[in-house]
């Protein structure tokens, strides 16, 4: 036996020279095709390869998954033995282990040979294995250790040598730094150290501008404010890392992906990239833009279109859910939620959809249950946190709502919405000082958001600082108008009405009427608009019109105390000022009728005004809280 085996060895070795290569090819082919993440990063290096003009596509194809992990594992194991434990082979062997889910085994394999100390790729893989096992600290240790060792010159030297050698040996090395930075960021994020995580992601992106994942994490987890995002984009070393023609592409795609909820804006695609017009990602971004511009119908049209082509597009789904909530389509939401939970029970968006359904149908208890399930599945899923807060807010549970928003604000540092909501809740619990503080904070994060300006205006209004309020409202309005809508979205009816209220307070009655009329055009048959118009007419002494409009308001909302009382006064005033009969015989009358009989009307109505204003002002406030509810749900 021994002899047999003994003579077999050289034979296989001699043959092995041939076979080994072939086997290696097979294994690598297997593994290459599996490693969706790791290798993709490294293979960005081929970007510079002139033979592949359209790298992106080639890479994607190259890593098509065949999922023959077991075969790969088997042969990789054999290769390691046959080649006598070459680093490269061990690496691939570890890869196969990784892909078959044997993370500890892979890590042990690499660490026991101290490969992780010398080879960046191995280090990365080992850390990744620990990461997969949620052993954050271990993963971090491995990465840190290497960093420490790298500082030593001798090691550095050797590792550089090895690195270059690795590269020749087709051990994926180029771009591994960015992968490591990315992984480090993810570890930090998992350890709730968001500041460091953001730094790491940023570094990853600097190291490799093609590292979309880092960019995506930064944006979708709301780690930076809009301004910071812009700055990052500007400082990306595009010139150094990509060829001339790709620069525009990358910049556009990233720009396109940036957050949109901080202010309404427009959406345009440069001429040269028009083929991208149909690209799903770009289309979804357009839909998102529409959503944050409050053009919900258009947004819904787009997302429905996308989902009919690509039913489970993960980027589009949260947006679609949000727009369904906004358009109040519980049935569609119900069905979508069901399907998603069946197919993707482990994705937060499925439970988010279910939670939103219950939120929309005002079943707050189950809504909370499912939304919190979504947040436990993925802690960084912002929309679910906000919706969770809304489920309390809609139920008038202000404290709990605030707690949820606080959590959200810690998770989404770069997002002003949780802060805005906290402010709203404080406003609703009549804590104007604190509300203002939070609005200011929100404004510092998103200085151009009309919603924030609007809320600040409401607070100023409640503090009786009319001029200030008017300034805020007008600024918000100009922000909205700068978008250049063909029709202003109905959402902004509250703003126009508030402008009307504040103009009335400043005694600019004509202007106030104009604003209310615009609001009426925007959103007809709204009783509060009518009663505001009526009130102005009453103040300007136009009693018969006032009566008319109060009637209209009461016709739509019968239990409106303000309108009822005012109507009583105004009718009284009107009836004491008009002549009893139209037409003739005014001459023979002893015309003492009007002013004598009744108490003067004006002062009365002013005392009324104070109670009224608080109610009116509160109204836009909670109106916009409603609007804000829907508005956030989607930054997922």
């Amino acid at each position: 036996m021994a002899g047999e085996s003994g003579c077999q060895v050289p034979e296989s070795q001699t043959k092995g020279k041939l076979n080994l290569d072939r086997l290696k090819e097979i294994v690598k082919k297997y593994i290459d095709k599996l490693s969706a993440f790791t290798v993709q990063k490294s293979s960005y290096s081929s970007k510079t390869n002139p033979k592949l003009p359209n790298d992106d596509i080639c890479e994607a194809r190259q890593f098509l998954v065949q999922h023959h992990y077991e075969s790969a594992l088997f042969w990789a194991d054999k290769i390691v033995s046959l080649s006598g434990g070459a680093v490269e082979d061990i690496y691939w062997y570890a890869q196969t282990l990784y892909h078959t889910g044997q993370y500890h085994r892979a890590a042990t394999l690499l660490c026991s040979r101290k490969l992780d100390r010398h080879y960046a790729a191995c280090r990365f893989l080992a850390a990744k294995c620990h990461f997969e096992c949620k052993e954050w600290q271990e993963a971090l240790n491995i990465l840190d250790m290497a960093e420490v060792s790298l500082t030593k010159p001798s090691f550095l030297q050797s590792s550089i040598n090895q690195l270059s050698m690795d590269a020749d040996d087709s051990l994926p090395i180029r771009g591994i730094e960015s992968s490591i930075s990315l992984l480090r960021g993810r570890i930090y994020e998992a350890m709730d150290n968001r500041g460091l995580a953001a730094d790491c992601f940023r570094r990853a992106l600097q190291q490799d501008v093609y590292c979309f994942e880092a960019f995506d994490l930064l944006v979708s987890h709301h780690m930076m404010s809009a301004q910071e995002e812009q700055d990052l984009l500007k400082t990306l070393p595009l010139v150094a890392q990509c060829p001339e023609d790709e620069m525009e592409l990358v910049r556009f795609l990233y720009q396109n992906r940036l957050k949109k909820y901080d202010k309404p804006g427009t959406h345009s695609i440069p001429q040269s990239l028009s083929p991208l017009l149909e690209n799903v990602d770009v289309v979804v971004n357009l839909a998102e833009r529409r959503y944050y511009n409050c053009e919900f119908q258009k947004c819904h049209k787009i997302t429905s279109g996308v989902l009919s082509k690509d039913p489970y597009n993960s980027r589009c789904l949260p947006l679609h859910v949000a727009v369904l909530v906004e358009l109040k389509k519980p049935n569609a939401l119900f069905y979508l939620g069901h399907k998603l939970v069946d197919f993707y029970p482990n994705k937060p968006v499925s439970w988010f959809a279910v939670g939103c359904y219950y939120l929309l149908t005002k079943n707050f208890e189950p809504a909370r249950r499912y939304l919190s399930k979504a947040t436990t599945l993925e802690k960084t899923f912002g929309p679910a946190w906000l919706a969770y807060g809304h489920s309390f807010a809609a139920d008038n549970e202000h404290d709990q709502a605030m707690a949820a928003y606080f959590t959200a604000s810690q998770i989404m540092k770069g997002c002003h919405l949780p802060v805005l909501y906290i402010g709203l809740e404080y406003g609703l619990t009549s804590n104007a000082k604190l509300a203002e503080r939070f609005f200011t904070l929100a404004q510092s994060i998103a200085p151009d958001d009309p919603f924030v300006l609007h809320e600040m205006g409401v607070i100023a209004f409640q503090n009786h600082e009319w001029v200030e309020a008017e300034r805020y409202f007008k600024e918000a309005l100009s922000r909205i108008q700068s978008v250049g809508y063909q029709h202003m979205p109905e959402k902004w009816e509250a703003l126009l009405n508030n402008l009307g209220h504040v103009s009335r307070k400043l005694k600019k009655y004509e202007e106030a009427l104009e604003y209310h009329r615009q609001a009426e055009l925007l959103c007809p048959q709204n009783p509060s608009t009518y009663s505001a118009i009526a009130y102005i007419h009453a103040l300007t002494g136009n009693n018969s019109l006032a009566v008319d409009f109060f009637h209209k308001a009461l016709g739509l909302r019968r239990d409106d105390a303000f309108s009822t009382t005012m109507l009583g006064h105004v009718i009284e005033a009107l009836m004491s000022e008009v002549p009893p009969i139209v037409g003739d015989d005014d001459s023979d009358s002893l015309n003492t009728s009007a002013s004598v009989v009744l108490p003067p009307f004006r002062p009365l109505s002013f005392s009324q005004a104070d109670t009224d204003d608080s109610s009116l002002a509160a109204h836009p406030g909670d109106n916009s809280s409603m609007m804000a509810i829907e508005e956030v749900e989607m930054d997922g």
Partner: protein
Amino acid sequence: MADISSWDLTKVKEDLIDAYRECSMRRLLNGAKWAAELSSALEITVDPQILMKKACNEEYFLDFDKVSLAATYFDLKEYDRAAHVVRDLKNPLAYFLHMYAEFLAEETQRLDNASDSIGQANYDNTKLRNMKTELSSRHRELDGFGLYIYGVVLKRLDLTKMAVEVLVEAVTKQPLHWGAWQELATLITDREMLVSLALPNHWVRQLFLAHVYLELQLHEEALEIYQTFINTGFHKSSYLVAQVATAYHNMRDVEQAVDAFEELEKMDPFRLENMDIYSNLLYVKEMRAELAHLAHRCCDINKYRVETCCVIGNYYSLRSQHEKAILYFQRALRLNPHYLSAWTLMGHEYMEMKNTSAAIQAYRQAIEVNKRDYRAWYGLGQTYEILKMPFYSLYYYRQAHLLKPNDSRMVVALGECYEKLERLQEAKKCFRKAHNIGDVEGGALYKLAKLYEKLSESEQAASAYTEYIMETERRGVLSHEEISQAYQYLANYHWSRKQLDEAYAAAQKCAEFTETREDAKVILQQIQSLRSQGESSMPARFDDSMGSLTSSDHIRPGEPRTFDGVTPVSLKFTP
């Protein structure tokens, strides 16, 4: 006013045929019906060649398959389906069908979802708002029909000013669509507004003007226009005859109106439109048999028509079966919640049943549908009077009065309100005015006199009473109680002035009434004792038979006014 006889009648006929075709192509059934009806009334032959040429336009064959498929769905009332078929088509016909089907889908859905209780719950107008946004973004490219649907949507959203603008645009672009004119007519509040509109100079405009005049209570003008149309060859048009009948009805010219309606019945025995007005007429005249006949006839024709329901409701109301009447009015409103007269009639019925809050709701709905419905305003005034909110009722009475300045009942009601508010000067003015414009119910003078009495302006009071008595003698006795009171006052008045003869005569009259008999006796005795020397005493003759008459005053227990003839019932059936 342009003279229709100067127009080319063949052209008119062609127009009508054209209008019919255009409307029926778009499933605007009422417009098509109107055009066809008028066209068939005009007995003129037109050259079929011309018609052919007009009928064969290319537009008709654009997207032919989809449009005709949508049209069939539409005919079968599958509106959503129809709208879906033609959803993204650009040609105006298809687009109109799409929008119209969407609108009707929304309307029917809302109707089906409406609760049984009256008064619409605050319904969700999102779909209408979306339609508005959609239509306004295409405003410039819309044709006459598209503008029509835009106008209707705006009107539904209470954006009246815009709706008027758009509808005027619609009728300018497509003057042959009667539906657009009709929608526009409901939005016109007064004559000034009518004059200020820039309407196209088209023969249809005359009919529109007549229609609006009728609504604005300008009956003479309306009748004049209708008469010219009838004289120029439309005499067989049941539409025109019905309008004329309505005009007479509004003018309270009962005989002529009944005649016209009878003629209409002969011309077009199965016609249901306007029959509810006819029934109002019969109700006022208390022609029970005729009303019963009409009710049964309508019921045989179609039980589930708004008009039928109103007729039957009136029938039951006349028989004092108010619950049943309400049931039928409710049914009418289920069928068409924008049917004005059903709302008003229902308000009256609720008043009969002392259900003030429901009555207010009904009246308010009526006003929502048509602001010019003075009966609803008046009804509101009455209900608020019951609720002891005099300022409100004053306001509502005044609105009614503004709409119908020459109707004494409103003025009397106003006067009574002022009286309640202790604003007697105004009240006086009202009563005098009521008398001057021809007091229909004849109570104004008496009330005026009462007022004078209250203000202790005895001269005026006496003269008013005298006038009142003269008036009643002319008309026949209206109210025994009032007359007795009048005589009593006069007797006292003259007695206090020692005008014995007058006092005696008045007191004698007084003695004819049970209520005042005792007082009269006293006065008579006093007079007699004054005249005691030598004059043979004339024992007062007491007519006991009168007693039965006086006590049977048919005033309802809950009625606020004790002596006024205006009750909701009698009001209801006046125009």
